[in-house]
């Protein structure tokens, strides 16, 4: 923090605490007044606690940045939600329908759903993400170029600069990672022993389900952050193709996250992140918040992907032909094809359930001709391909960093590039492998087994090419932190990937499905394919963004604490899963003898959290008093490193031309891009 704002930070912290207390007290009072009961059946009075947290966050941000940007947006969102809900309530009252439910959450479900939708619009209006479009629609002219407010405040309001937006995304993603991780820590503690110790089973179910979805949203924002930050720089562009749309895509994710988290306070839900009906038709109000939250977040994903594809197609600098793009750009494009199209299907699936909940339209009610399996097809048509959305950017980062650190070209560039597209496209054809035991049409199982197994081929190409890149490469001696995370990512993703084929063959999957073996499989793939590369990219591009380099020693602590703990966590998951531990259970049969394994997993989880806290501390320390690094820290050939850090506002002020191959390390005299400016 800068000197000038450090007093602000202290005040902000104070306000945070005061806000937490005040908000909670007010909410408890309200709750007691309206229901005549002091608590809500949970250990803590969760709704009040959450409202308190919201007040606290807003108060904190208010002290930091004033009535501006996200503060304004959040306040408007609350107002909009109330307005929308009150409107529906009034309408219902006028029509003589039951219009309120004092016993539970004051408003009816339809009022809540409408409310949060209106709230989303209000947020966007309040934060200022749609002001320009509104003016355009009225035929007014808006300025072409954007200027940001100076200082760190620009990160809290609408900025059209892709670098600012990238950092906003990344920061939000880390925040959600912490929240989702915190949920995991809470329910893991409950799982440490058999029996229910301190959570009610409803709360366990809610936390577990929210953990899944919050983490997934966190990933979607995280990859959007990295892609937003890097892709324009890598293709030699000044910004994304549609900067306003870019800002919109980011800002719509904030109300989405708020709505998603609010489900914790509004009764929770108990379906897991998959939300299968008919269970999700019967679940409490929180279910609808989950559906709406994810639906809104989906738009962030769709529009961001659209922007990215257009940018890559239209904004490449001179000479940046397809096969000379940095490999990460290939990965980002492949990812975006999936997000752009498949996301609509999960949106539709969730809308159908919402309509069944709100209007009784029986899409999934088998007594009225509905079909619960249909939901699963629609859901997985998105949710399988999306797992490749999670990992392709990460695998791109691995392919991007390996050559830099082993000082050797990426082995088989074209193959690696095409394998991203291959994975993305084949990924569209495999969704039903999540439904082998679901009772879907039997004849579908074998074809889906084959298509699923096929994904191993392009993924294998990536692994073999990485190994070939490493082979005889001169890996830099001191193994800098980003490189550690790259190597960790390869190993962990390998474990995750190799545990995939046993799920893909139908008969073995019948045993594995819905067990902790699967839980282990996907934590490995997601950590290896996303979390590790994500941390690698933060360590690697932090100097680019800030001109300061993260502390190496703390970085190594982070890595060496997180990796073994994580391996223990997931390998033990697979172990107990094979032996009969089901997913999504808050309590398990002590007779199965999993006690020690479970305890070890919980401890491992806390060690992971400790490692991540070290990482946060590292960021704090570096921003405050980090070692300056404005040059080409990693001796990379990539264009963004050929200009000084932090990156100038319009990236490359000078002529930019691609004249060579991106990864020609070890070829004396070769150049990748020519930027007519002074050398760094």
């Amino acid at each position: 923090m800068k000197k000038s704002s450090s007093r602000g930070f202290g005040t902000a912290l104070l306000l945070f605490i005061l806000g937490l207390i005040a908000g909670t007290v007010v909410a408890v009072l309200l709750h007691t007044l309206t229901t005549g009961k002091f608590e809500n059946g949970y250990l803590l009075d969760l709704p009040s606690w959450l409202l308190g947290a919201l007040v606290a966050v807003v108060a904190f941000l208010y002290a930091l940045i004033g009535y501006y940007g996200v503060v304004k947006g959040l306040l408007w969102q609350v107002a909009g939600t109330l307005l929308g809900a009150l409107f529906v309530t009034a309408l219902r009252a006028a029509l003589g329908m039951p219009y309120s439910d004092m016993n539970t959450f004051w408003f009816t479900e339809s009022a809540w759903v409408t409310g949060v939708m209106v709230g989303t619009l209000f947020f966007l209006a309040g934060v200022g993400a749609i002001t320009d479009w509104y003016k355009m629609a009225l035929g007014q002219t808006v300025s072409e170029h954007h200027t940001d407010v100076p200082g760190f405040r620009k990160y809290f309001g609408v900025s059209l600069d892709h670098k600012v937006i990238g950092i906003q995304y990344t920061f939000t993603s880390l925040l959600l990672l912490s929240v989702g991780g915190l949920f995991a820590l809470v329910f893991r503690t409950e799982l440490a022993q058999a029996g229910m110790q301190f959570l009610s089973i409803e709360l366990y179910n809610t936390l577990m389900s929210l953990h899944g979805m919050v983490m997934i949203v966190s990933i979607l924002l995280g990859i959007a952050g990295v892609m937003n930050y890097l892709v324009p720089m890598m293709i030699g562009a000044q910004d994304m193709a549609f900067p306003r749309l870019n800002a919109f895509s980011f800002w719509i994710a904030i109300p989405a996250a708020v709505i998603l988290l609010s489900s914790l306070a509004l009764g929770g839900f108990d379906t897991g992140w998959t939300g299968y009906p008919p269970l999700s038709v019967r679940a409490p109000l929180g279910m609808s918040m989950f559906f709406v939250g994810v639906w809104v977040a989906g738009w962030s994903s769709i529009l961001g992907a659209l922007n990215l594809i257009v940018s890559v197609l239209r904004l490449r600098a001179k000479g940046m032909i397809a096969f000379r793009m940095p490999i990460f750009v290939w990965a980002a494009t492949a990812t975006s094809i999936i997000s752009l199209t498949a996301t609509q299907m999960i949106g539709l699936a969730f809308q159908l359930v919402l309509f069944q909940r709100l209007l009784g339209m029986p899409f999934f009610d088998s007594t009225k001709g509905g079909n619960p399996i249909l939901f699963q097809h629609l859901f997985w048509f998105y949710s399988h391909p999306v797992v490749y959305v999670f990992v392709l950017p990460g695998l791109g980062v691995i392919s991007e960093l390996l050559p830099v650190f082993v000082r050797k070209p990426l082995f088989g560039y074209k193959w690696v590039a095409m394998s991203s597209l291959g994975i993305a496209l084949v990924g569209f054809l495999v969704w039903a492998h999540h439904m082998f035991a679901s009772g879907m049409n039997e004849y579908l199982r074998v074809p889906f087994m084959f298509s699923t197994l096929l994904v191993a081929v392009p993924t294998g190409v990536k692994f073999f090419s990485w190994v070939a890149t490493l082979w005889q490469g001169k890996l830099v001696r001191d193994l800098p932190t980003p490189m550690l995370f790259v190597l960790g990512g390869i190993v962990v993703f390998l474990l995750g990937g190799l545990t995939g084929p046993p799920n893909a063959t139908v008969s073995t999957d019948l045993h594995l499905t819905d067990t902790y073996y699967i839980v282990g499989h996907f934590h490995d793939t997601m950590f290896g394919g996303y979390i590790f590369p994500f941390f690698a990219s933060i360590y690697y591009w932090f100097p680019k963004a800030t001109g300061k380099r993260l502390n190496e020693k703390l970085g190594k602590w982070h890595f060496w604490l997180m990796t073994p703990s994580f391996l223990i966590l997931t390998l033990f998951m697979m172990r107990v899963g094979l032996l009969g531990m089901r997913r999504r259970i808050g309590d398990y049969d002590p007779a199965m003898g999993f006690g020690l394994w479970q305890m070890a997993m919980t401890i491992a989880a806390f060690l992971i959290a400790a490692a991540i806290l070290i990482f946060f501390y590292n960021i704090y320390l570096t921003v405050k008093s980090g070692e300056n690094a404005t040059g080409n820290v990693w001796k990379s050939r990539s264009p963004e490193w050929q200009v000084p850090s932090p990156m100038p506002v319009y990236n490359y002020e000078h002529e930019f031309e691609v004249v060579g191959e991106p990864y020609d390390y070890g070829l004396p005299g070769s150049v990748y891009v020519k930027i007519n400016s002074e050398e760094v």
């Binding site: 084959f450 008969s507 019948l510 089901r582």
Partner: protein, 343 residues
Amino acid sequence: MQKNVHHYVIMSVLVIVVTILTYWGLNVLGLMPVQASSQAVQIDWLFDIEVKLIAFFFALIMVPLCYSLVVFRQKEGDETDAEHIEGNTPLELTWTAIPLVIVIALGIIGADNLRQIKTVDPQAIEIKVIAQQWKWLFQYPEGFSSTKLYLPVNQQVDLKMQSQDVIHSFWVPEFRISQDVVPGSIEDYRITPNLLGNYKVRCNEMCGKNHAYMESDVLVVSQADYKTWVGTQALSAKATEMASAGKPDAGRGQTLYQESGCPACHSLDGSKGIGPTWKGLFQSQVKLTTGSSVLADDAYLTESIKLPQAKTVAGFSVNAMPNFSYLTDGQVADLVEFIKTIK
């Protein structure tokens, strides 16, 4: 390349060693629970192949990775780049083609394996399984039902499974197979137990609050024991039926209350659960969501059990209560009789 031959030799040896060690280690650890069905034997056979594959590919990636890390690492004081090698198309083709062949082979083996575990024995015993939040009920062809599943050893059974409410899944880890039970359709589950013992069916699909506790005993007994058990069960079922033929009976109602899973939602002591309490319900005025109220008489109670959606009690959600369509009229009458006794 010539000067590098020893690297490749060492690496290949290491790959083989690590593959064997990994596979051996996993086997010593023991990955699966006991095999209690002939299908389990088949499935474990396929799984074993996959473990071998995993061990091999794990070694194939990890060994050169670690080897490069140790052997080729930048030497002290060496600032130069590595040798400029861009790629090698034949090599890329090889490591595309070989995994392709492997996965196709795996797919064929997998399809065949699936066919084997689905082999149908026309002599199979058919048992009806009813899944509901959060319990299992097994109805035997001899006309009685049980909350425990007794199965004869070495005899294929065909479970005809149906769900009353949401999706559940029938899984006995020792049998290796799970199958979802989707409301609105009847799912087949064929298994041939081959090992005497006590196991548990564990619901393997998230089905709401008490999903974790949706477990029932599965007992695999000898064929003779099975016959005896079925005989006695059938007899006692007949006996109770004869004893009170025709008239509803609160005692039987109480048993049904337990067996059918009503306690999950309805308390007898006045406390509010997922559904309204039954205490003092009979002859009370029940407030409905429509705003009107209705007298809780025989007809209303019967309707509430048979068609739970018909009228919804204020403060509860319409779809919460499952359909109990499998209950006979006599059983519903028993339940109503029991409700009358809760004052």
